[in-house]
Every structure is written in structure tokens, then in C-alpha cells.
Symmetry: D2
Subunit: 422 residues, 4 copies
């Protein structure tokens, strides 16, 4: 006889718990203790910190709060591995995360094992509200899987030896895509945002609400590296009129003249990745660009960035598990688009900068308590990105998903898709 829906769901959560936790573990496999410890900039965190912090989430909000008799693995870890939950008390300063040579990577992995054992024991007994916390914790861990990879990429890029964390795949022939074409979007009132009835979503994705779209079109695919090289060669980084004022100041202060990790040599442009230094693939979407760069490119191209409502409305018809996303422990790389009449690469490959500031939706309210600090407090100064990237764990992203970064940040797999008014 078939299991009831509830039992199924229970199994689902356990399997999902094992899968997500296992992928994290797998990503850590090629890391040395040192790789896992160093923090290469204040924006990034050590891999060990990611491995620990996501574990702290389960130990604190599930095991400590809801499982009687649970003994924390080491009571000092709560201070070390809290991130920004003010309500959870004082914590180790963010910029000092790289000082924690102890506990070692092995000890953190042992902590993970300890927590996993307790979680797997506890899961079948947890009430629904706590199971929701577990689900939240798993999505939280998936976010950190992506950050762990991009933070490692930044760290390895600071090493003149440019080590490769993963083996590079065999080079494939490059098929340059045809020119981009425009796909008209919906006009008038649409519904966006997560409804919250079923399935998981972060608080900032809701409430579902009406939004008004003005006549517009989206490019059928993201901007490619080849197109970006044309922007460079046309002097795009040196012409103030393309740039936001803050962006122009940033370009000049930092001496920016290409996407992050790019270098120009005798053989042309190369880029550094978790598979080491490789030629730039002109057919693949450009990545590791800031909002400032994305906006300047759009201005140069006579276009603009999409709003998040335009993007989401268009994405509602696309399967979110499509595209190049993170499936296993290999080096993430955006792939070339196939030419197609329809929208392509909406999900995966590169996070797409939108022109929308990250602000609350109509009717948004932060949830009370420590977990409620989750997203609302970041709603100033950042821009929304949509669609996930090649480093986003498959199954994590959806049409309503709102990622956000400051306009100068570019160590994620960030790219852009053009939009225009009709």
C-alpha cells in the first residue's frame, strides 16, 4: 500500500537533508585544511566557516531549541559560527573569520557528522513547524554551497600560482551564437512574488502581489563574452558617459578594465576559474561583472537592465531546474547558449543583474525572532539579481527567487540580460 502524503513528505525531507548535506561535504573534499581556513577579503568567508555556519543553524534552531537532551558538540562554536543574527548574541567579527585556524577542518567535519546523526534521529519526530525550519536550513545551506565555491575562487585567484581546485574539462569547439533578438514581455498587470501556500521560499520573495509592466522586451539570451570584448575594444571602460556616477568613480579608483579574473595575454583574453586559468569562451555568457559594469554595457548598447518584475513575469513559464547549475563537485562554468527562438538561459549559467533595488514587496513583514533577521535588514543599497548561476545548486532557485548584492560586487557568477522599452 502506498505511503500517505505525509509519510512521503517525511521521507522527502530526510532524503533532501542527506542530499544537501552530502553535496556540501563533497564540495569540501579537494580542500586542504589551509584552503578551508583562509579568508581572502571581508566579503568572503573561509570554506570551513561555511561548513560550520550551516551546521550551527541546525544545531541552534533545531537541535538546541527543539530536541530535548541534545548536547552541543562544542559550546564555543555558537560564538564562532553565528553570522549576523544579532538576536543570537555576540559573535566573532566577520573580517576576522580567517583567523580561526582552530577548530581544524577535520574537527568541523566531525561536528557535521555529530549534528547529522542527531538530525537524522530527530527528523521523524519533529513537528511541522520545526520541519519548516529544517527546510529553511537546507536552502540556507545551498546558498552557502554557492558562496563557498565563489569565495574559494576568489581565494585561489589571490595565489600567484593560480591553483585549480577541480580538473578542467577537455576543451570543446566553440560555436559562436548568432546575434541576440528580442522577446516581447507581458504588459499591464501581472502577478509576481511567492504565494507562500506550498513549497519553500525565502521571506523576501513574498507576498505575491500585482505588479504593473510597461511595454518592453527582453533579450533572448544573456550578453556573451564575445560581445563584452567588443565593449572593451570600443573603449567602454574609459568613456564616462556610459557609467553611473558611482560606477565611474569605482572604475577609476580600482583601475577596472575587464571582468574579474580576466587577463589579457598574447593569446588573447583568459579567465581564472576553479579549473584554473583558461581561455575566455566568446560564446558563453559574460560573468564576474558588477552592476556598474552591467549598467554601463546596457547604456553603451542602447538598452537597459530588466526590472525584476519583467524578469520574473517572463521566467514564470520556464522550468527553474533548467540551465547550467551545480550538480556535483566540478568547476562551475557558464555554457554557451544554443540559438533559440525563445528565452534561453533564464535559469542557471549566470545571475542576471536587474535594474531593481532590493526593497520589500508591498505588504512584506519580517518574521519575528532570530530567524526573522533573515532578509529584511539587507534592504538598502543592493540590487536584485535573478535566475541562479552555474554555481547555484540545482533545485535551489525559482522564478520568484531574489538574490542581492551591492553594485560593486562581482565575485559571484554575475552577468546580464538586456531589456528595452517598446
Amino acid at each position: 500500500m502506498a505511503k500517505s502524503w505525509t509519510e512521503n513528505r517525511q521521507d522527502d525531507l530526510e532524503r533532501r537533508y542527506r542530499d544537501v548535506r552530502h553535496l556540501t561535504q563533497t564540495l569540501a573534499t579537494p580542500l586542504s585544511d589551509a584552503d578551508a581556513t583562509v579568508q581572502s577579503m571581508p566579503d568572503a568567508s573561509p570554506a570551513k566557516w561555511h561548513l560550520a555556519h550551516v551546521t550551527w543553524f541546525f544545531e541552534t534552531f533545531v537541535l538546541r531549541d527543539h530536541v530535548e537532551g541534545y548536547q552541543p558538540f562544542d559550546p564555543r562554536y555558537a560564538f564562532l559560527f553565528n553570522s549576523y543574527y544579532e538576536a543570537e548574541g555576540p559573535r566573532h567579527a566577520r573580517a576576522m573569520r580567517g583567523m580561526l585556524t582552530r577548530p581544524s577542518l577535520d574537527e568541523v567535519l566531525a561536528w557535521r557528522t555529530h549534528v547529522d546523526a542527531a538530525m537524522v534521529r530527530a527528523l521523524p519526530m519533529l513537528p511541522q513547524a520545526v520541519r519548516a525550519l529544517v527546510t529553511l536550513g537546507l536552502h540556507h545551506e545551498q546558498q552557502h554551497q554557492e558562496l563557498m565555491l565563489t569565495d574559494l575562487l576568489h581565494l585561489f585567484s589571490c595565489n600567484p600560482m593560480e591553483p585549480a581546485l577541480f580538473a578542467a574539462p577537455a576543451a570543446a569547439p566553440v560555436a559562436l551564437p548568432g546575434p541576440l533578438h528580442w522577446i516581447e514581455g507581458r504588459e499591464g498587470l501581472v502577478e509576481i512574488g511567492h504565494g507562500g501556500q506550498s513549497d519553500f521560499a525565502f521571506d523576501c520573495e513574498g507576498p505575491r502581489h500585482k505588479a504593473l509592466l510597461h511595454p518592453h522586451a527582453l533579450a533572448h539570451r544573456p550578453v556573451t563574452n564575445g560581445e563584452w570584448i567588443a565593449f572593451i575594444e570600443d573603449g567602454g571602460y574609459g568613456e564616462a558617459s556610459h557609467w553611473l556616477s558611482d560606477g565611474w568613480a569605482w572604475v577609476q579608483a580600482q583601475g577596472v578594465d575587464a571582468p574579474a579574473y580576466w587577463k589579457q595575454g598574447e593569446q588573447g583574453w583568459t579567465r581564472f576559474g576553479l579549473d584554473g586559468r583558461q581561455p575566455v569562451n566568446p560564446a558563453a555568457p559574460v560573468t564576474h561583472i558588477s552592476l556598474y559594469e552591467a549598467d554601463a554595457y546596457a547604456s553603451w548598447a542602447g538598452a537597459r537592465l530588466p526590472t525584476e518584475a519583467e524578469w520574473e513575469s517572463a521566467a514564470q513559464n520556464v522550468a527553474p531546474i533548467s540551465g547550467t547549475q551545480l550538480d556535483d563537485a566540478t568547476a562551475p562554468r557558464p555554457h554557451a547558449a544554443s540559438d533559440d527562438a525563445n528565452l534561453t538561459q533564464m535559469f542557471g549559467d549566470v545571475w542576471e543583474w536587474t535594474g531593481s533595488a532590493y526593497r520589500p514587496y508591498p505588504g512584506f513583514r519580517a518574521a519575528p525572532g532570530a530567524v526573522g533577521e533573515y532578509n529584511g535588514k539587507f534592504m538598502s543599497g543592493q540590487f536584485v539579481l535573478r535566475g541562479g548561476s552555474c554555481a547555484t545548486p540545482r533545485g535551489h532557485v525559482r522564478a520568484s527567487y531574489r538574490n542581492f548584492f551591492y553594485p560593486h560586487q562581482r565575485w559571484q557568477f554575475t552577468g546580464l540580460r538586456l531589456a528595452k522599452d517598446l
Copy 2:
């Protein structure tokens, strides 16, 4: 016989030119050469620079470009007093504006006289397109009138002697207002933005477009100093959960615990103004607060900031020349609201922070050329403020007017009006 419409309009522009230029001159009357020269922070400019820069606008975009045979007063001034028009070539660095002890205040005033004479001669002959530039220049000058006052306020606040630029009015009895009440706003599709057919507006105010309002209400008046003191006394500046993450970092790094220019003494709170140090008036709207503070207050009060569409929709029924605005050379001060069933103090008194990031409207395109640099390039990282303040020259502001500052800035007369979802 009555003058034709065109002649009237011509007279209007000339009268308006004289009025605006004269008010600027009047504001400068109490200034010493030194007062007019010093720059107290990179965000502010010296009064002399304001007096000169607005004059540079007319000399460059009107006299140089459109009046044959015009001789610039001093060809070196163009380099000194350009602000941020990249297309107009290199310019003196913003943070170094306070180094210009020469030309003297008197020389800058003589330049003004020179330009005014040429402008008054030229005005009747200018074609319509150039008259539009003159109008733009006058609105530009009105913006700088307000900045000149707020920059002087900041400068004088850095002097331990706390000099008063203007005499303080006699103290009036304080009548505390009753509690605020809520006024329901329009719901559904509304039209906002400037239509651009007639009357002046800055480019960023348009195009006029439909916007969607969700059910909401606005407070009938801004938050008062008395209410702000309650926030302080309730520990509002010390409780992380009220604050945006960037705001909390700012409060801690800067040691902020009250609005700018406030001090607590034995007689209670005082504030510094262009009329010197005076007691805080609990009945008047709070001012000199950052977006971070406005947002924290709203969060503490269980409310939120209005969006700019909500604000503009409500303001469309209010006369923009109402409220406390700048009429002559006296110290600007917000006045206490009278209790009223309707929206009060929508215009004047204090700039109201909205929760909207300063971004382009649907269909917005920057105008080409130097004047086109005007607004579009500032569209990242800033928030919109609405309604003008006690330091805004009367006649300058309107329902569609979009002011913008970074969320930490508070040297303008900035306050807030609460909003809530219904």
C-alpha cells in the same frame, strides 16, 4: 492694450531671473569672505562655490553657447566652478573646493553682476530652446540656494563658538499637536510623473506613467521632535532589530544617538541651526535624520516609509507653494503642524524620506550632451525624498519633484512621514 502671451512669458522669465538671482545674493549678504570659502566636508561645497557654479551654468550654457561676442569674465573660472559635467572637460576636484581662497567673495559677486548684465541684455533675444535652458538654470540655482544654506549650517556647526548666521526669532509658545492619524491613499492604477508638456520639471521626474498602488494609508503629518525623543528614550538607537544592517553598522561606527546638530544638556535637548543653538521644539517635525534613522523609527513604530508613488499620488491634490519654504534671508526652521483632518505639511518644512530607491521611471532616457548628465547618472545607491523643506525656495518644488540622497546623509532638512499597509 494687453501684452500678448508671449510677451508676458518673456517678462515672466526676466522677472523670475531677477528674483532668483536676487534671493541668492541676499542669502550671501551676511557672509564674510571666509564663511563663503571654507568647505566643511566633501559632501558640502563652499558658499562662494555655489554662488559661482550657478553663474558658470548661465555663462557656459547660455552666454558662451548662444550669445555672440560674449566675453567670459575670467576664462579660468570654467575649470574651477564646473561641478560634475564630465562632458565639459576636466574640473577642480570636489573635495578641494575649499582651497579656493581666490577669487574672493567680492570677485565672485562681481562675476555675478557681469553675467547678470549680459543675461538681462540677452534674454529678450533668446530663442525658445535657450529660454528653456535659462529656466533650467534658475531651477538649478534654486537647488543650490538650499544647498548653500545647509552647507553653511554644517560649516557653522563645526565651529565651537556656534555662530548664528541669522538672528533667531522670538521664542513662541509651543502647542503640542495631537496624535497622528491615518489618511487612506488611492488604490490601483494611478498616474504619476511629470508630463513634460508645460511648466518646468527635471528630466528624472518623467515620463508621466501609470503606477500601481496597493492598499495603504499615510500619516496626516510628519513625525515630530517630541515623538523622536520618545524613540530615543525607548532605546531606539541601541536596538539592532529596528535597523537596516547598513544602518546599524553606521550607527555604531559613527556613534550616532540623536539627529544631527542635537545636543542633550541640563535643560533638555537643543539643536544647532542657522539661528544658533536653540531648544528642540517638540511640536515641530524632526529633521536632520538619515534614511537609516527614518527607517528604524518606522520599524519601531510598527509602520513603514511611503513609496514615492504613494506620496506623489497623495500630493497631487495639495498646493506645492504651501507649507514652510524659503522666502527670504532668514534661518530656515520647520514649523509645528496645526491639527487637521487632512494631509498637512506635504510641501515645505522637511524633505520626507521615501522607501523608494532613486531609479529611472519606465521609459526614462537621459538627454544627450552635457546638460543631459544632469540626473540619470546618480541613479544608484540613493533614496528618493519628496516635498521640499523649510530651506527649499518657494516655487521650486512640486508633486512630481524627486530629490535624492544616500541613506546615511542628513545635513539637509530631512524628516519622515509614516505609511502603513491596509
Copy 3:
């Protein structure tokens, strides 16, 4: 009948008081209120501040402390114009001195008049110990005369119009000096330092003590601009091996490639001075160089800097009122050396960097009390300079005089004289 010695001395002090105070006033004559108010960098002070601070010294340590019934001109000035005398209580922050647009230059000059009147009345009645304080105050004021000029030079150099404070003298024909030759110095035990019995000296110049000189020689004149250009043309600023490690870091961080105020144009090198921008005179001593530059030049030239004992021992035979020093309100400029068999330009023209760190002499003790803060507390991180410059008031400097600056500072008229081991 001849006056007694004491009466003479009294007259001397009064005449000296009038002379010094009058020169200060004269130096201020060409200044506008704005010129006198602005602070161009934290190291420099506004001219108004100099004018006020030296007056504060007399008002505080003489009139307040020793003249009964003296009424301070304005009791708030003590806070504003104390410099670094911790024992005198809190004071206006150094980097904020340029914010004081009030009191005006005229008010400060009126304060000077008020204090001068009281001083001239009081002088005949003051006991010897207080007369010593007056003498200290006059030397203190002479120091500030020089700083006022060099601070104004820095300020005016920040103005793209490069105004000249004083008229430039007519250009004179340049007679290039012959090559420098070496003058052997004393060897063995010598006496240096100020004996303190008669005449004025700052505390750090004593006590007089024996010093041991090793076999050495000094160049008969300072290094010239012409020689410095040879250093530049030989790539001196680009070759790490010439430089102290801190100096090399400074050169690279600041992009230094010539003395301060130099610019290279089609007509060759020019320099900015209080007489505006003028051609570099190859025959005159180089000036506005840091210790780092002086040391790198010496290293490039196969020589070294003199120690202060070597310098002082040689200078004991030279008249300290010789050389180009400040006599009246004209633009200070070092003059070309005449070729001479003996040491030339030991006094005046340029301060000569020595290789000696500014540290206490054997037996040095700081005097107790506020005046005792005078010099001892600056004895870390700075190098000694000797001999005075073209901006040093004649009569102020002597063989034992120790000036001191940090090794990167170069806004004084600083140059160098080579030394070598024998």
C-alpha cells in the same frame, strides 16, 4: 648719563617685542579673510590660527598668569587657539582649525592689538622670570612666522589659479656655481649644544655636552637644483637601491618624482612659490624635499647626510645672521651660492636635513608645567634639520638650533648638504 644694563635690556625686550609682532602683522597684510582661514592639510594651519595662537601664548602665560586684573579679549579663544599644550586643557582639534570662519581676520587682528597694548603696558613691570617667558613667546612667534609662510605656500599651491601672495622680483641672470668641494670637519671630542647661561635657546638645544666626531668632511655648499635635475634625469626616483625602505614605499604610494611644487613643462622645470610659478633656478639650493629624498640623493651621490654634531661643530664659526633669511614681507627664495673656499650658506636659504634622529641630548630634562611640554614630547620618529632657511626670521636661528620634521614632510624650505667619511 648712560642707562644701566638692566634698563637697556628692558628697552631691548620692548623693542624686540614690537619688532617681532610687527613683522607678523606685515606678513599678514596681503591676506584676505579667506586666505587667512583655510587649512590646506592637517600638517598646516590657517594663517589666522598662527596669528591667534602666538597671541594666545602671551595672553595665557604672561597676561593671565602674571598681570593682575587683565581681562581676556574673548574667553572662548583659549579653547580655539591652544595648539598642543595638554596641560592647558581641551582644545580645538588640529585637523579642524580650518573650520573657524569666525572670529574673522579683523577680529583676530583686533585681539592682537588688545594684547599688544596690555603687553607693552606690562613689560616694564614684569619680573625677570616672566620676561624670560616673553622672550620664549617671541621666539615661538618667529617659528610661527615661518610656518605661516610655508602653510600659505601649500594652500596657494592647491589653487589651480596659482595666485602669487607677493610680487616676483625681476629675473636675474643665473650664474651656475662650480662643483662642490669638501671641507674637513673637526675630529675627536667637541662641545655642542646650548650652554643656557646667556641668550635664548629652546630647551631641546641643551644641555651643552661633549660629542665625539669621527673623521669626516662637509660639502662647502648645499646641493643645487641643477644637481637635483641630474639626479632626476639619472632615474633617481625610480631606482629602489638608493632609497630607505620607508622612503621607497612613500615614493611609490605618492607617485613622487620631483621636489614639491615642481612641474615639468615645455620650457623645462618650474616651481611654485609665494611669488607664483617661476622657472627653477639651477644655481640655487634645491628645496622642498623630504628626508627620504635627501637620503636617496646622498646615496646616489656616494655620500651621506651630516650628523647634527658634525653640522653644529662646523657652524660654530659662522655668523648665524648670515645667509638668506626673512627680513620683511616678500616671497622667500633661496639664493645661489657664491663659489667660496669656505663653508657657505650654513645659515639661511634652506633647512639642511641631517642624518640624526631628533632625540634628547645627554642630561636633557623637560621643564615642568605647560610650557615644559614644549619640545621633549616630539622626540620620536622625526629627523633634525639645521641652519634655518630663507623663510626663517633673521635673528631667530643659531648654531645650536634644532628643527625637526617627519621624514616624509617637505612643505618647509628643506634641502641638504652632503657629508662623507674620511
Copy 4:
């Protein structure tokens, strides 16, 4: 039959090579890969970097330059592990040393083994000039042994868990020393500096030269922790008059109120060390103080710091291998002095700040070439310390040895001995 002197010397160098290299290896034994990789501040270097850099010295200046056919272990290491030898070409930026998670600690240790094997093979064949380079390399390595320990101490102090690298010894009873007494020093001409005929010395220790001592006395022992606590309790950190001006600015900017690594708890003062957090031993010399603190203490105590000539003259009669120095892989700790009529603890225990700026001796010339960059270029802004510390490898230090640090630095085992004028 006895070996000839030359054979003996040969054996000596080989034995010394093995001993020094072995101690380094032993010190690294308790380190994890992460411990060895992280850089806790720009002043410090990762342990792995120390292990590699000293090896680079032998590989570059001995094996590459003087051993035919030597194959470098990895040609990329030269770029990574050069420190500041400009003549050896570009190098990895100092502040980025902590980014090098690869090569791993194991790989660096393998490099050491590779180089050691080649060195041991080569040593018997090397000509005398190259053997001198080997000796230089061994002293260089001993310097880095000490730095490795103090850098690790700083790193571990940044970890809130405060891990102990080495086991703490059993607590011993504290016997407070009696009051310090004064030992009169030599007066008149003395000889100091290294003669350079035999035995090793760094270039900056010579040439040997006459120095003039004025009447003075030295304290018979360093200042103790107990005495330092009296300074703290007397408000020493809060009274400006004790401090150098730069020191007072440092104390206030950094909030310094005790030696580094000290913390005050309910049980009194504790300090962090490589043996973890332990009670402060009032009988032991104070350590981890800056020159500013040492100078302020001396001023408070009515004394002064010794000059380096006074110190060296007194130390010439003391055995440099005496005192607490580094013998093996245990946590360095200064020991309590025994009461004694003579000078005690001149060597070992704590580096003693002198009042002498680090400047060249009369007749000093930097050696040409890359090795010649060794010391001369650091001769600005730093003060000399003498005598070695508990972390200095025994056999490394001598009477003429000149250590040097900037006046604010205090992560070494730095203390002070008082001096006074007689």
C-alpha cells in the same frame, strides 16, 4: 690525531646547519596546515612563509648561485618567498602572504628536505666566501625562528578559543624580587660595535668605533610585571604628560591600557601566550610593550631608557648565552630575575627598548648586491632593542646585536630596563 682547525670549522658549519634547520622543523611540529598558512596582520607572516623564506635564502644565494647543476625544487617559489630583496626582482606582496594556501605545509617541508639534502652535499665543497653566506643564512633563519613564534602568538591571540600551541608548564611559586638598584656605567670613550674580524655579525653591527658615554647608571634588572601594574594603577595610561606626542596619539587611537595580550578579570591580570592564557607573573619582566609605553613608564618613574652605547658597553662583560633563551619547542616565557648585586638578564628574557634611533654607525656602508639590502634600508623611524628575548634562539644574540622595530610595535617579547643620568 686531532683534526686541523679548518676541518673543525667545516664540521662546525655542518653541525650548525643541521642544528638550526632542525630546531625550525621542531618548532613547526605542532602546527596544522592552517596554523602555518594564515597571516594575522601585515606586520606578521605565516609560519609556512617563514619556513619557506629561509629555505629560499639557501636555495637562491647558495645553491642557485654557487652549486652547479642544482635544480630548484619549484621555480615558482622564488617569487612567492622572497621578502624584500628588490634586487631579486618582483615578489608576492607582503600583506598577501596569507593567501598562499598552496603550496601546503607538507610541500614546504618537502622543499626544506630537498634543499637540506643539497646543502649537506654541497657544504664540504663550498669556498670560504660562500660558507660565509651559509652562516649568514643560518643567522637569518634564527631571526625567523623568533618571528615565527611571535607571529603565531599574534595569530592564536585572534582566535576567541585562545588555543595553546604548547603545553603550559606547572605553575611555580612566585618570589617577588626586591626593589631595583642602580649600577654605574662606564664614562668617557668606549668602543662598541662589531669588529668584523672573526665570528659572525650583521652588517649594521659595525664598524667597531669609539663612542662617548656620559655619566649614567643602568637598573640591575628589567622592569617587572608587578611594577607595570603599579604604573597602570597609578593612571599611567591616562596621563598625557608621561607620553611622547606620537605615543599619546597611539594610546588614544588604539584604546591601549595594558601590554598586549593582557586582560583583567576577577582574578586579576592574565596574559595570553603560546601556552594559552595564564596569570601574569608579577616577578617576571614585563613584555609585549611598545617603545611608547616603555618611554612613558620611564618618564613616570623619573628615569629614562638607556642608549644603545650604554647598554652595549655594559653588556660586553656578560655572557651572551646566559638568560632565558629559546632552546627547544616550548612556549617562550621570560623568567623572574634573581636578586643580584650585578646586572642580570641582560641577555634573553625580553628585548630591551633603548632610546636610540636605528641609524648607521660612523663609517657604515651597505654591502653591494641583493644581500646588501639586508639592513641599511630600514634605518629610518625605528628604535634599537638589545639583548634578545626568551624567544631568541640561544647562540644567536651578542653584545653588539642590534634589533629594531617601529615605536608602536609590540608583538615581540619587548620590555625595558631603566637608565638614569648621574
